[in-house]
């Protein structure tokens, strides 16, 4: 488990990998599922890369390893804030990474040591769906992402008996298509970061949940 935390360093994917290994899903399916879950990091990479432009090559390659949801979130918020003037993009990023990385590894180690001794009657495994729920609601930015989630979730329920856990792939793809269709029909495709769409001004004033 600690090895997995070091290699993957990605909570959502680690939970899914454990779940699927427990269900004896085929090795390839587990790997593909982890990739699907983490493909969102392409967006993080693309959006944070300009701020890493002046790092030397080795630093860039090390920085990429730490690009997990939470570290990306705190760093990009700080980089984009026009009020605070950062003395060093590098120091801020690696500071956030160090704090999160040590917490993540020590918590995983604690889980391995204590986990087996925890009574199963407590249903602690229920914390996994609850964690996904919290993550889900934190990424719903506007009506289109809500519909993408609704469609993705509904299809996943209907497709849950599809073999090889392919239901997840089918459901997520359907949800993404639904979201894109809504954006196209609303004349706001492509919408990027809630500001770059052709109708950015109108959409950002009419939508709820914009940050």
């Amino acid at each position: 488990m600690v090895g997995m935390s070091l290699l993957l360093f990605s909570g959502a994917a680690q939970l899914a990998v454990i779940d699927l290994i427990g269900q004896n899903a085929p090795v390839a399916v587990v790997i593909v599922t982890a990739i699907i879950i983490n493909i969102r990091h392409i967006m993080y990479s693309a959006s944070i890369a300009p701020y890493f432009r002046r790092f030397d090559t080795a630093t860039k390659w090390v920085a990429a390893y730490f690009l997990a949801d939470e570290i990306y979130a705190v760093s990009i918020t700080e980089y984009r804030d026009p009020v605070t003037e950062l003395r060093s993009h590098k120091l801020f990023y690696f500071g956030a990474a160090t704090a999160f990385f040590t917490t993540w590894l020590s918590s995983t180690t604690l889980g391995v040591v204590l986990g087996a001794n925890l009574p199963s009657g407590l249903s602690l495994e229920f914390a996994i769906p609850l964690t996904y729920l919290a993550l889900l609601f934190s990424v719903l930015d506007d009506q289109s992402t809500e519909i993408a989630a609704l469609v993705g979730g509904a299809v996943a329920v209907l497709a849950s008996s599809v073999p090889l856990n392919l239901g997840l792939v089918i459901a997520a793809s359907t949800g993404i298509v639904a979201g894109v269709v809504i954006d196209i029909r609303g004349g706001q495709f492509p919408k990027v970061d809630g500001t770059d769409g052709p109708d950015a001004e109108r959409s950002s004033t009419t939508e709820v949940g914009e940050e």
Partner: protein
Amino acid sequence: MTTEHSPLAIWIIFVAAGLATYLIRLSFIPIIGKVDEVSPRIKGVLRFIPAAVFAALVLPLFLSVSVSPQTMPVITYEPAELLAGSVAAIVAWRTKNIVATITVGMMILWGMQIII
């Protein structure tokens, strides 16, 4: 955790998934000087991935459809888990706080287990 996978198979999963995750995270970081921006069209599609994936992961953990040739499809669920999940969803929606969501969800599940 009980599994039929060998330790080797599990390590292959960890290494492959870990390497893929690293390459995904790295993707744009070294090349940003050469390629200036990801196409807005690609970003416009990519932005739906987190919402669609997390919803597709979470909903089947609460609701499942059982299909048999004889009957209509039936939706099955655990009442205690569904109630705890629904209230936790409201907390997640309102607070966007992971700790609060887990705490409320677990409290309600335990409460229901005591009652039932």
